[in-house]
């Protein structure tokens, strides 16, 4: 039963990817502007345009190009940047690494902090720290991230001179230097994603806390700490992992503002550049990476919530 459900989720994930790939392909195809035109620029004559289009395979019908593109994509051949002539792989690989380092670090820091704070707040609802946490996280969610980033730059870089205000990497930093360089965007992102995860953890736990089996645990003389950690947490895992997954996916794809503010060479910024230069293969590749990340993370979250359900784990 459980294997069946997990396989079903995997199949749905695949189907989602296919649908998204079609959408990405179609949308990028109808973007205004013609790559051949852009490449040739002023020197374009109708003959050279036609020749280049043929060379780029753009005279083929849409669906043929789609399947070629999908096949290449699946085998790891992301194509050649139409704006610069470099391979997309070479453009992306460094950026992807940077993005992964950043989001990995944010995840490692923010997930334990968020769950711990969320649990703590749920253990003492109405206490001072709980009120600080709920009020603080609500304020942070409602403030745009560039604002948080700017404030941090003003305080930590401009006023106190503790940290550099940009996070540009040369590739030759020691680990400590790397951390120092990344500190500002890291702090910003940790604040942004933790706020949501803390709130969801707290809400998820408190929702379960009104169940009769929690009242029973109270009447058995179980201490509140143990009630939350043993009795409530496992029943609240589903919503919590889903919010974690959504936030991690956001870290990979949605951090362009933060990347821009700190001049951090991440993937999201690369995609924006690609859109500006009409570099369709680059945009397509980035879009597919983002989408795969989402699908994969949500899939993992789904599997985690299925696994945490004893009814599915232990059928009758």
């Amino acid at each position: 039963m459980m294997t069946k459900m997990v396989l079903r989720r995997v199949a749905i994930g695949f189907a989602t990817l296919i649908v998204v790939s079609i959408i990405v392909f179609v949308m990028t195809s109808i973007l205004p502007g013609d790559v051949a035109q852009i490449i040739l620029g002023q020197s374009a004559t109708p003959e050279t345009l036609a020749a280049l289009r043929k060379e780029l395979g753009m005279d083929q019908p849409g669906y043929v190009r789609y399947f070629q593109w999908l096949g290449n994509m699946a085998t790891g051949d992301l194509g050649i940047s139409k704006a610069g002539g470099a391979t997309i792989e070479s453009l992306i690989s460094g950026r992807l690494g940077n993005t992964m380092v950043m989001s990995g670090l944010v995840a490692v820091i923010s997930i334990p902090i968020s769950i711990a704070l969320g649990l703590w707040a749920a253990m003492h609802p109405g206490a001072l720290l709980d009120r600080i946490v709920t009020f603080g996280t609500l304020s942070l969610i409602s403030v745009p991230e560039f604002f948080i980033a700017t404030i941090l730059v003003l305080i930590l870089a401009v006023e106190l001179h503790w940290l550099p205000s940009t996070a540009y990497l040369t590739g030759e930093e020691t680990f400590l230097e790397l951390l120092r360089a990344l500190a500002m965007p890291l702090i910003t992102l940790v604040i942004v994603v933790s706020a949501q995860m803390i709130r969801m953890t707290r809400a998820g736990i408190l929702n379960v806390m009104s169940s009769p089996y929690i009242e029973m645990a109270i009447l058995k003389g179980v201490p509140r700490r143990r009630i939350i950690l043993r009795h409530a947490f496992f029943n609240a895992i589903g919503p919590i992992v889903n919010v974690i997954a959504l936030n991690l996916a956001y870290l990979v794809s949605g951090v362009v503002v933060v990347e821009t503010i700190f001049s951090y060479p991440g993937l999201a910024k690369l995609m924006i550049d690609g859109v500006q230069t009409r570099d369709l293969p680059l945009v397509q590749a980035c879009a597919m990476i983002f989408c795969s990340t989402y699908v994969l993370l949500i899939l993992l979250a789904d599997v985690a919530s299925i696994m945490s359900n004893p009814r599915l784990r232990n059928p009758k």
């Binding site: 009447l219 179980v222 201490p223 496992f234």
Partner: protein, 625 residues
Amino acid sequence: MQKEKLAEVKDLKIYAKNDDGDIIPIVKGVSFDIHKGEVVALIGESGSGKTTISLASLAYTKPGLYFAGGELLVDGEDMLKAEPLRTREIRGSKVAYLAQSAAATFNPAITIGEQVTESAVLHGKLSQGEANKRAVELYHALELPDPERIGFRYPHQVSGGQLQRLMAAMALCGKPDLMVLDEPTTALDVTTQIEVLKAFKKVIHEENSAAVYVTHDLSVVAQIADYIVVLYGGEVMEQGTADEIINNPGHVYTQRLMAAVRPKPQAGLGSSVGVEHERDIPAIRIKDMTAGYGGIVNGEPKIPILQDINVSVKNGHVVGVIGESGCGKSTLARVMAGLLPQAHGTVELDDVELEGDLRNRRLEELQKVQFVFQMADTALNPKQVIGDIIGRPLEFYHGLKGKQKHAKVMEILEMVELPADFASRYPMELSGGQKQRINMARSLAANPEVMLCDEVTSALDSIVGANVIRLLTALRDRTGVSFVFISHDLSTVASFADEIVVLYAGRIVEQGPTDEVLMPPYHPYTRLLISSVPELRIGWLEDTMQKREMAVGIAKDVEITSVGCPFFNRCPMGIEGTCEKQNPPIRELSSGHEISCHRTVEELEEVELEVQMALGQENADKLVV
């Protein structure tokens, strides 16, 4: 011999404070004693404060309530003044709690064994190893199946009756001085209730622990209590030994409670319809119907529930459908309503075949078949006022608007005997019984031909439930509506149904006019049901357990089979080699009275004679002694 005093409740007062700061007394100065090895029953309807008092012995109040005065001493220690840290030590180790719904009070994500032993280990009474050993002993004592391994299972992997007994193990594991049992058998089927009661009684006796038993059911109290405290509106009406209260009730309220005890189901209690509504064609008829869940493969449901069902509901009649939980009662109503399309067979309304799926039924067909759900709490939209709830079907089916609609809402409120100003109230402001009336009023507003009532009285107290039944009867007489009344409670069904359908494991084992079904010869299952209904008599439980059908049938689980008689494994009269291999024939005893059994009518009658003889012999023995 005077037993040693364990606990003392002295002038206990518990008040509630609502959002406006008003103080409402819930328990108004209650006093009684609990002795060691004694079961004290707190009895009364909902709102009498019985649960609140029982929880106070765990130094606990529901949110919004507070201790306003008096003392509650357990071993000389006042529970009302215990510090938070001390209350944690008391709960589970000195005083243990057993809740009404085991299904909701077991944590779904933790194994049964861990939950049973948790409290004893946490309080340092036993090591995990000792606790596990004690748990297994308790599983044995409570006659649970596979006692060595049941602790490794999760709550959803055992049945409701087993879970209820496992909760007793959970309470007893820490060897508490006092157990609080809050309506522990109310949600169970009669056959399961007997089993659980028997196990409780045995284990309370063996452990020599004291218990507070909270219930509204006097017949249950008669089986288990040594001492009875009768409560009404937070005050003690009367208290005394079980013998005094049951056999010689002094207070008017106790007498009223006794009167509301459902009489033993027997012939002659059912009502019958007034002639003016009598018509020949059935209001709703089901022919050769099979239905189930999980989708339909090759014309058969993946998980079959109902098989070969033939039922006909005459116009203006009340048909009671009874059986244990899981037997397919609600599924039958869902098929009639079109909520669950049948795999094969037909549903006819006024001799016209209906589509299986309600989405394909016409508006007037929908209007004629209305469903009344069990839980009024969840069936009524809490954000709508009563006027809107009842007004919606009036508008949807009959296009009534404005003044006309308002007038009709008033008329319907009057029909369900509620005041007109209820139209502007919200469901939250109403009591359980009133909500259930609104729930029925909404169906009534559609002006239906058939009302499908699914366990509509099961969540109500006996007195409130009896009022709802009286109302249903009045509505039937006034409107000529037909009712399909689903219940696991045979006494309720017997008190007002014209016909009874007995379902077992998805098949009809017996159906016919109420008086005939409740008279011998019985189908063996019908007889098991009838003899499982507790009587308001001390010693009934012991007597019943002696009987032959109990010995065979009580402790077994229902098995759904497609071949043979499903009741075979619990039947005292089963014929090995026949019953489990062939579907039983349908024997027609009279027009409309059918029993589905391999035994002939003569054989069924013979058994009845033997029982009567045995009973006569027993009575004769008693006289001699």
